[in-house]
């Protein structure tokens, strides 16, 4: 039986698949999709063998560089990026945790200047497997359990 697409195919652009359902809108925010003028299709709570429920985003005529893609690794390490050209899959990529993160995550330290003044939080990822982020301002380490997104 032919499977029916829940979300229409796009001619050219990027498909972000296998997003955990509870992180779909966070991924859209990180990639700044709310301010784009092109066609952006979102679907959530789709059945997934891998995740149980998943989200998917299709962006017409939008392509992302590796740094932008890696930003979503913090919230959706399982995500797959698929580049589409003329309705055909041209490339598939998995996301990877970046070594530097800016403006996505809050520093967990309430006494950090970034939580009081208008300063963009910046972190070095000092442990990719355990996800430990060291604040470039207060030096404190934000761990996976204390991660809050801006």
């Amino acid at each position: 039986m032919k499977k029916e697409l829940v979300v229409s195919a796009i001619k050219n652009g990027t498909v972000i698949d296998h997003i955990p359902a509870d992180m779909l809108f966070q991924v859209a925010k990180i990639l700044d999709l709310t301010s784009r003028n092109t066609l952006v299709l979102l679907a959530n709570n789709l059945d997934s063998m891998k995740l149980g429920k998943k989200g998917i985003i299709k962006c017409q005529d939008l392509y992302f560089n590796q740094d932008e893609i890696n930003k979503i690794a913090l919230v959706a390490p399982s995500a797959t990026l698929i580049t589409i050209r003329d309705y055909e899959i041209k490339e598939k990529m998995n996301v990877g945790i970046p070594s530097y993160i800016e403006g996505t995550v809050k520093c967990y330290n309430p006494k950090c200047i970034t939580n009081v003044e208008k300063v963009t939080p910046r972190f070095d990822v000092i442990d990719k497997s355990e996800l430990k982020l060291q604040c470039r301002y207060c030096q404190k380490i934000t761990k996976k359990e204390t991660l809050t997104f801006l």
């Binding site: 330290n109 006494k111 950090c112 200047i113 970034t114 009081v116 003044e117 208008k118 300063v119 604040c135 470039r136 301002y137 207060c138 030096q139 404190k140 380490i141």
Partner: protein, 304 residues
């Protein structure tokens, strides 16, 4: 060596050779403290929270070099009280001074200042984070008392978990093949993040809970205060509080070259009967702060 226009925000901003260069300059200032090398320069001391000792030490250093000081000693006397952002304050002061020395209660504030300032910034303490000039003067005091920084045995005593001076000193001294003796209550041990500096250099460290255990082993006894507010259970504090007070009677077995250092202010962790012993060095240590700050100001302003 050229440190002109370099910021000093964290002790890790400088390397071993740069520490040694500053210490050498400080030695020169100790021999000849009044040098008019900074005549015509203006140094801004911006103290967003009060710190009499550090501010006066910096201002003394500036005055002895012939420069002028502008600034404030409390944020209530600044435009911060009117709601101005730190970045705007720093941008403005950059127009008035050749160098900014700042203390701020928020961690990371000095790094933010260095990103927007058009003149170099020296961090004089940002909350519990960094106080690199204290670390430099600790290094100078160790070198002065031992004649070297290499291959020493150093004991750190007291609150090793929260003490920023301890963390910076461990990081800096890890460059000099130091053996560390860490004396603290169980709940205030050195954090693993700081121990990483020791481990990365394959150095040795030993942990203890009593001061007498290290007395005959070390060249430097670096004392810090164990504060009651660091304990969740007041009974835990009561049990250990007297274990971290240094008394003259405990110095009997010490090595002849051993010196006692303390970042000050002291409360009761060193009995006053230690003050007159040959081991007490904490007041000279404070004096050394002026020479080290002179050296830093001269190097960063490109005067030496």
């Amino acid at each position: 060596m050229n440190l002109k226009n370099r910021n000093l925000i964290s002790i890790s901003d400088y390397n071993k050779e740069e520490y040694l260069y500053i210490l050498k300059l400080a030695e020169d200032f100790e021999k000849n403290p009044v040098q008019d090398v900074a005549k015509g320069k203006v140094v801004a001391t911006l103290f967003f929270e009060p710190s009499t000792r550090t501010r006066l030490s910096f201002e003394s250093a500036v005055c002895r070099m012939g420069a002028k000081v502008i600034g404030f000693s409390d944020a209530s006397n600044s435009s911060t009280a009117k709601g101005e952002s730190l970045a705007d304050t720093i941008r403005t002061v950059s127009c008035y001074a050749d160098l900014i020395v700042m203390r701020h209660p928020l961690e990371g504030a000095a790094r933010v200042a260095s990103e927007v300032a058009t003149v170099p910034v020296i961090n004089a303490g940002d909350g519990a984070n960094q106080h690199p000039t204290q670390c430099m003067l600790d290094l100078y005091s160790i070198m002065k008392t031992q004649g070297t920084l290499d291959n020493l045995n150093i004991a750190m005593v007291g609150d090793l978990k929260y003490g920023r001076t301890v963390h910076s000193l461990v990081e800096a001294m890890s460059n000099f093949n130091t053996t560390f003796h860490l004396v603290s209550p169980e709940s205030l041990k050195l954090p693993s993040q700081v121990k990483m500096h020791i481990k990365r250099k394959n150095l040795k460290y030993f942990q203890y809970t009593e001061i007498p255990d290290v007395m005959d082993k070390v060249d430097i006894l670096y004392m810090t205060r164990v504060q009651r507010e660091r304990f969740l259970d007041i009974q835990d504090y009561e049990k250990v509080k007297n274990s971290y007070v240094l008394d003259k009677s405990m110095l009997i077995n010490c090595k002849p070259n051993m010196k006692v250092l303390h970042p000050l202010p002291r409360v009761n962790e060193i009995a006053t009967n230690v003050d007159a012993t040959p081991q007490a060095y904490y007041f000279q240590q404070a004096q050394n702060g002026v020479y080290v700050r002179q050296a830093l100001i001269a190097a960063i302003l490109g005067l030496k």
